[in-house]
Amino acid sequence: MKKKLALINMGIGNINSVFNALVRLNYKPYIVEDGKSLLKYSPTHIILPGVGAVGEALNSLEKKQFIMALNDLVIKKSVFFLGICLGMQILAKTCEEFKVYNALGWIEGNVKRLLNNNLSLPHMGWNTIKISSGNSFLKNINNEDMYFAHTNVMYCEKSVEIGKTYYGTNFTSIVKKKNILGIQSHPEKSGRIGELFLQNFYDQN
């Protein structure tokens, strides 16, 4: 089957980094601006890049009618989904930032400030992702350094955690549930290993 990769533009922050990383891999990401065009495009793979604040992001997803479309494609039709950074965080039931927001709720968990014994936040820079459970999404990826830039993390059921990272405490850095994948770091900023991660996602059939 021909692959169709949709890149969701929430309209906040910079999606160019992810777009450019995908183009460097010779993929043809299609940028979608609202839920209607996402449904119309009928993708096989969806990437939700996220930088910015969670309130703005959820607002924009709602306003652009992405939430309904995503529920239809990812939950009902099992389209492969990758959420990056904030895009991973909004998979949880709730996200706390200034106040508590209801998020997509695809993963049993909530997102809040990383409790890390007084290390600086945001957690900024390169850190190791320890792979706790191998699968096809993580082919040829072992314990590797990736680039992080975030303050909040997802506290979730351990059954979906496939990667974790230590920053004063262990936190979940990669989650997987069926066709849904989320990563807290930025593969688009993480060199060869980040590319490999994006490749593995795109290779899912």
């Binding site: 906040i12 922050g13 910079n14 160019n16 980094s17 450019n20 990383a21 183009v23 460097r24 930088v51 910015g52 604040a53 703005e56 904030l86 007084n118 290390l119 600086s120 936040l121 945001p122 957690h123 900024m124 820079g125 390169w126 850190n127 190791t128 350094d145 680039y147 830039a149 975030h150 303050t151 230590y166 920053y167 930025h186 688009e188 900023k189 993480s190 060199g191 980040g194 590319e195």
Partner: protein
């Protein structure tokens, strides 16, 4: 394991990359594109580009240079974002939120702001709300005046009333996600970092600090990693005058410390 970063800073001025000394003397060291190209090859932890241009119109175009000056810095950022995966901070001459948005939408991951914060401190709060605080780097320049550290703005031209530590705390409160600390006295002097001020700042804020100014050799950088708790250490001039300086320094640091990528 969390890795502390070694960050090259490129100073862009009126179309060229320059080296900087005490924020006053600037010598052209070449074409911005070839400098950026080198950073890509070195696979740096992160890159900071600071635009310290003074003229709005770049008329300077010496005949003895084969290469033309870069007139549009945004084009350089775009090219970087298309061709490389380096985390990129861009700063300098930022006037408002629109400028921040333009820079981020052209491919920078973070912006560094300084002078505008004095007249409009809320720009930090507002932009952090839109782009996330991880995207907002507050830059602090300071100088020792009569034995006391004092913060400066506008490329070292305006003396402020706060010391860099007080200012750092205030910027954190406003929503800054990181602080880039530069010493005007040590800029380009190659005599080592000011460990005391760096540690004072690191101990006073709970956001990451990027310590800059003073690296003259690899031992200065290692010393700064050993003697301070700064999350990242930056340097400018030194990367331009030693062949393959970045990879060589990285290899040296890795022998001595485990928290280097």
């Amino acid at each position: 394991m969390y890795k502390r970063r070694l960050i090259p800073i490129l100073f862009f001025r009126n179309g060229w990359m320059v080296r900087s000394q005490q924020f006053k003397i600037h010598q052209i060291i070449g074409d911005p594109y070839s400098h950026v190209e080198r950073m890509k090859e070195w696979d740096v932890d992160e890159l900071v580009i600071l635009d310290i241009s003074t003229d709005q119109n770049i008329t300077h175009n010496r005949k003895d240079y084969k290469i033309k000056p870069v007139e549009n810095i945004l084009e350089l950022i775009r090219k970087l974002s298309i061709e490389s995966h380096m985390p990129l901070t861009f700063g300098g001459n930022i006037k408002n939120i629109n400028d921040i948005e333009t820079i981020i939408c052209n491919g920078a991951d973070k912006v560094a702001i300084n002078t505008i914060t004095n007249t409009n401190p809320n720009i930090i709060t507002e932009s952090a709300k839109i782009f996330g605080r991880q995207a907002i780097v507050s830059s602090i320049d300071y100088k020792i005046v009569e034995g006391k550290a004092i913060a400066f703005s506008d490329k070292g031209r305006i003396m402020l009333e706060e010391d860099p530590i007080e200012l750092g705390k205030r910027l954190e409160g406003l929503g800054a996600g990181e602080i880039l600390l530069q010493s005007i006295d040590n800029d380009g002097e190659a005599r080592g970092y000011n460990y005391e001020i760096i540690n004072n700042l690191v101990d006073s804020v709970s956001i990451p600090v990027i310590a800059c100014s003073g690296a003259g050799n690899k031992f200065h950088i290692l010393d700064c990693f050993n003697k301070t708790r700064a999350e990242a250490i930056a340097a400018g001039n030194i990367f331009h005058f030693t062949e393959n300086a970045y990879p060589i320094f990285k290899a040296f640091l890795k022998i001595n410390r485990s928290d280097i990528r």
